[in-house]
């Protein structure tokens, strides 16, 4: 009755309709968890898990061991960067400290009404018994014998020899150095002589002179070397012997000679 071709077409249409009907039923009940699902899950997922774990293991191996070569390189690079940064930090710190010192010198320069020349300490005396330093300014820069040298704290010493580019400065703590000075508060006069690295002797202070510990000693300007009013040091010790005309006084210089780096030479 029906030809074979017609029967095949009808079959296809029937299957399509059945398929649509089943999809419609399934769409009405989404996420249904059947026993088939469980069986499939129980059978497949362990393999999935195994494969995934193996993949993670391999990935982990790569990242933690083989990739360490790259990490090492990165580490070396970062260490280099860190060292560079530390060097730079040190340089900045040094610059800042130099800036502070120079600022103090500049303040000093503006306080003292004389023409001054900044210089750097480049060498020290070869023996511990004599106290001299070398500065990097000489006759070519206008420096000559007898010129006063000061730092931010106060008087450093005087020039005792100069070549074209360098000069030798006798510090006030040297035994052969002497400055005509006076106590700022009471105007008592005396001579400050070098004694040890930490202190000077303030000689010829009469017994009746009113002086106290921590009184400031300044240059009197009468020696013709140091301008009047430059700070020398503070009185650190006073003793009045039972006999004699004078008191025995010690002065602690304001300048720290162990850390002397920059100085000013008074050119006039």
């Amino acid at each position: 009755m029906f030809s074979k071709r017609l029967a095949r077409i009808l079959c296809v249409i029937l299957f399509v309709l059945i398929n649509i009907a089943l999809l419609s039923i399934s769409a009405k009940h989404p996420h249904r968890y059947t026993i088939v699902d469980r069986v499939v899950m129980a059978g497949i997922v362990p393999f999935q898990e195994g494969v995934t774990r193996t993949m993670h293991f391999c990935e982990s191996m790569w990242h933690h061991y083989f990739y360490l070569v790259a990490v090492r390189e990165e580490c070396d690079r970062l260490k280099g960067m860190l060292a560079g940064a530390q060097m730079e930090k040190s340089r900045y710190l040094e610059s800042e400290l130099a800036c502070q010192r120079l600022r103090k010198l500049l303040e000093m320069k503006s306080e003292v009404p004389h023409r001054m020349l900044p210089a750097r300490v480049v060498g020290l005396d070869p023996s511990g018994w004599f106290k001299t330093v070398f500065i990097n300014k000489g006759t070519g820069d206008g420096v000559s014998n007898g010129m006063a040298v000061i730092a931010s704290g106060g008087i450093v010493g005087r020039v005792i020899g100069a070549s074209g580019r360098y000069a030798k400065v006798l510090l006030i703590i040297d035994r052969s150095s002497a400055i005509d000075a006076l106590v700022q508060r009471t105007r008592s006069r005396g001579i400050v002589e070098g004694e040890t690295s930490e202190s000077c002797r303030f000689k010829y202070i009469v017994r009746k002179a009113d002086i106290k510990i921590e009184d400031t000693v300044i240059s009197s300007g009468l020696d013709g070397l140091f301008p009047k009013g430059l700070r020398v040091g503070a009185i650190s010790e006073i003793s009045r012997p039972s006999s004699g005309l004078f008191q025995e006084v010690k002065v602690r210089p304001f300048v720290d000679f162990t850390r002397l780096e920059e100085v000013l030479v008074i050119l006039e």
Binding site: L124, P126, W129, F130, K168, L170
Partner: protein
């Protein structure tokens, strides 16, 4: 060259507070070495030049280093006639005595008061002991330098000689 290097080191690195108390005048072992190994005229000339340089750099009385080095040179020369100069203990004592003697002369030259003496005593003793301990080593080092220099010089002369012959 060795002397000049020692002079520069002494006026820069070795004067910082860290080394100041321990390091002695490094030219003393050099003067002792020159006295023991160089002919009189040549040795005296080098010693006087070194003394002159040190005097120019120092704030002390001019001629102090010159005199000290000169007398050390002569003293070591005369003492070496009676003792075995290769003996380490002898060298050690010799350099220790020289360093101590130099400090005594400095002390007299500055007419050091009690306070300065008290401040310097520890440093002087430490330097003397350090000089006695390290002095023989410096002498040995200088001896090796001299040997190497002489070998190099004689080798160069031989090469020059061969060149001329050819």
């Amino acid at each position: 060259m060795v002397g000049l290097s020692a002079v520069v080191a002494q006026t820069t690195i070795l004067r910082i507070p860290l080394f100041h108390a321990v390091f002695y005048d490094l030219l003393i072992p050099l003067v002792v070495f020159l006295s023991l190994n160089l002919p009189d005229k040549k040795g005296v000339l080098v010693v006087l030049i070194l003394g002159l340089i040190m005097d120019l750099l120092s704030g002390g009385i001019f001629g102090l280093y010159l005199s000290i080095y000169f007398w050390i040179f002569l003293w070591v020369k005369s003492v070496s006639k009676y003792f075995d100069v290769c003996d380490t203990i002898f060298q050690s004592v010799l350099i220790g005595v020289c360093v101590f003697g130099q400090h005594i002369i400095f002390c007299i030259s500055v007419a050091a008061p009690y306070q300065l003496l008290a401040a310097q005593t520890g440093s002087v003793l430490l330097q003397t002991v350090f000089a006695a301990l390290t002095g023989p080593g410096i002498l040995m080092l200088l001896g090796r330098l001299q040997t190497r220099f002489e070998t190099h010089s004689s080798g160069t002369e031989r090469e020059i000689g061969n060149y001329v012959i050819r």
